[in-house]
């Protein structure tokens, strides 16, 4: 149970980071923390303590297995997360070239 709670704490840290931090890079780190918290939670839903891989073999009775599907899906989700992070980091660097700052309160040409 405490594992799930820690997962929620991690998610909340990520959300806090996105909502409260002013530095673009810190916001990107917040996004990554949120994504990792979701991925971790996804793994946990399919995980059993002391479980084994669900590979069928002749002489073994299969009692306690780990669900492999979430792990395969999380692998995909991590790759997607990598693409998003790379793109946002690239945009943040271009923003820095144009505005000369990473402070989000000073980047405000768009309003209305």
């Amino acid at each position: 149970m405490s594992v799930y709670f820690l997962c929620l704490v991690l998610f909340s840290i990520g959300l806090y980071c996105i909502l409260r931090k002013r530095n673009l890079i810190k916001i990107i780190i917040g996004i990554m923390i949120t994504e990792y918290a979701v991925n971790l939670f996804f793994i946990l839903t399919g995980y059993r303590m002391h479980g084994r891989a669900p590979i069928h073999s002749e002489d073994q009775a299969i009692l306690n297995m780990v669900d492999p599907l979430p792990q395969a899906l999380v692998l995909t989700a991590i790759v997607i997360g990598l693409a998003v992070t790379a793109l946002i980091a690239a945009i943040a660097i271009r923003v820095y070239e144009k505005y000369g700052t990473f402070d989000i309160t000073k980047i405000k040409r768009l309003k209305g």
Partner: protein, 499 residues
């Protein structure tokens, strides 16, 4: 027959995007032709599927030959059919518009590559019958749209793109979290199988939590009012053809379509969710309309108006009655036609005059007759003036509100319709009518392909109302309405389509 054509909706734009990235740089004019032919093929295929759908009914494709619920499926039911027709026709018209418009930018092949990836992502979201594949396609469309918003790489574009990317990624995290919970209680990823599992269980608190997570995630994607802050920055900053795609079809296929699919087909529509949808829809209608009224930037005004019009769609769907849903899906189709047209008009004005500020325009009707007349058609459609298509769908939604006994919602919908008329009169008055401003005497009409695309969209706006004629209405709108109304019987339809 058709079930073998289904994967082409994703495969063709993906292959075209890949070819563009590979050899588009070397051969001049190749990206234009490739993208035009690919999207023309998709538009033709989507219209052909309307004909085939009439004969065969819902269609399912098993990816790799694996049987569902183990394997991945692609499903086309009535709602998906309507969305495919909408997305692919708009994509084709936007693609031919870009031939001339994108000459202002460098690296055209990159633009077409991202554009085709976005089309592939949207088509994938629509035909996917698998929850995780829906998420993956949604991310493909979203990531390419973040990059496209930043395509100009000026101050505003980059700022808007950063905001949009942060909000979009957060939305995706919420959606993934919803999928995790859904997987943990149903132990399957196939949407039809999920809906069968959930129908067997009594509703519990976890379904409520899942609903909240999906409503937040897809609400952010479709920019409904508490979640709308990124849209008025992101949509105007993109190049005009992309604004047309984002406002015209992206927020619908990633947002509204996914909301309908998940809340009606998978989770099953509960009265609480329906009333939340109606509430959010009405708030979006009014807030979007009021904010649009105060704008002087042409594209920003259109972006706020998108929030308002999406509100009508969600209100219609949220009513849950057959008439309300018919109005909702019809308004979705119409909005993609006239809002794309208006964004293309704003792009044409920017192309010729170099400004988006309504105060600096004036009297453009003399110099740019095609743009002015098509924008007049679009403005009248969106404000709900008969005989244009927007009138019929708004009328159906308002009548459905009254029929269901929701008089307050009907009142706000009528009021906001008048607001819409007011801000589009402002656009026409300041932009196209009146005296020609001094600096604008040299302005020329836009090139051929831009005119062609705007004219076709104006014809669609004009003739859109004909889709309601009995005999025709069943083929596209009727099947979409029935697909929404079937609710959790979606499972039976999908498994019944296994061949």
């Amino acid at each position: 027959m058709l079930h073998n054509l289904l994967p082409l909706f994703v495969a063709v734009p993906l292959a075209a995007a890949f070819l563009n990235a590979l050899i588009g740089k070397r051969i001049k004019g190749f990206p234009d032709w490739l993208s035009g032919i690919a999207t023309f093929f998709l538009a033709g295929l989507s219209i052909y599927s309307v004909v085939l759908f009439k004969a065969t009914g819902p269609i399912m494709y098993k990816v790799g030959g694996w049987m569902p619920p183990i394997g991945i499926t692609m499903v086309m039911d009535g709602l998906a059919l309507l969305m495919l027709v909408t997305v692919n026709i708009i994509a084709f018209l936007v693609s031919i518009y870009s031939i001339d418009y994108m000459e202002r930018y460098t690296q055209k092949w990159n633009f077409y590559c991202l554009f085709l990836l976005m089309v592939a992502g949207m088509n994938g979201v629509i035909i996917s019958g698998d929850m995780f594949n829906l998420y993956v396609f949604l991310e493909i469309a979203a990531i390419s749209s973040y990059a496209l918003v930043a395509f100009g790489t000026e101050h505003e574009e980059l700022e808007a793109s950063f905001k949009y990317a942060v909000m979009g990624t957060l939305a995706s995290s919420f959606i993934l979290l919803g999928i995790v919970f859904l997987y943990s209680i149903t132990s399957t990823l196939n949407m039809a199988d999920m809906s069968r599992e959930l129908a067997g269980k009594s509703s519990s608190n976890i379904v409520l939590l899942i609903s909240v997570l999906f409503l937040t995630g897809f609400g952010l994607k479709s920019a409904l009012v508490p979640f709308h802050a990124w849209l008025p920055d992101a949509h105007p900053s993109a190049p005009a053809p992309i604004s047309a795609m984002l406002s015209g079809v992206l927020i619908k296929s990633l947002g509204v379509y996914a909301i309908i699919r998940i809340f009606f087909s998978v989770l099953g529509s509960s009265p609480q969710v329906l009333s939340i949808l109606m509430g959010i829809g009405t708030v979006s209608i009014v807030v979007g309309g009021c904010l649009a009224l105060g704008q002087w930037d042409f594209k920003r005004l259109l972006a706020y108006s998108s929030i308002s019009q999406i509100g009508y769609v969600v209100l219609g769907i949220g009513l849950g009655t057959p008439l309300g849903i018919l109005g909702g899906v019809f308004h979705l189709l119409n909005h993609s036609a006239f809002k794309s047209l208006l964004f293309l008009n704003s792009g044409a004005v920017e192309y010729s005059t170099g400004t988006r500020d309504l105060k600096k325009m004036g009297g453009l009707k003399e110099r740019m007759p095609v743009t002015a007349n098509t924008s007049l058609v679009a403005s009248m459609s969106i404000s709900g003036i008969p005989p244009f298509n927007g009138f019929w769908s708004k009328l159906i939604i308002i009548v459905a509100c009254i029929q269901a006994g929701h008089f307050m919602y009907a009142f706000w919908a009528v009021l906001a319709s008048i607001l819409t008329l007011a801000y589009f009169m402002k656009v026409q008055r300041y932009g196209f009518f009146g005296e020609l401003k001094k600096g604008l005497a040299h302005v020329k009409e836009v090139p051929f392909f831009m005119k062609l695309s705007m004219t076709i969209l104006a014809i669609i706006c004009f003739l859109g109302g004909l889709l309601l004629i009995p005999g025709i209405s069943g083929d596209l709108l009727g099947v979409a309405r029935d697909a929404v109304l079937t609710g959790q019987d979606y499972a039976g339809i999908v498994f019944g389509a296994i061949k």
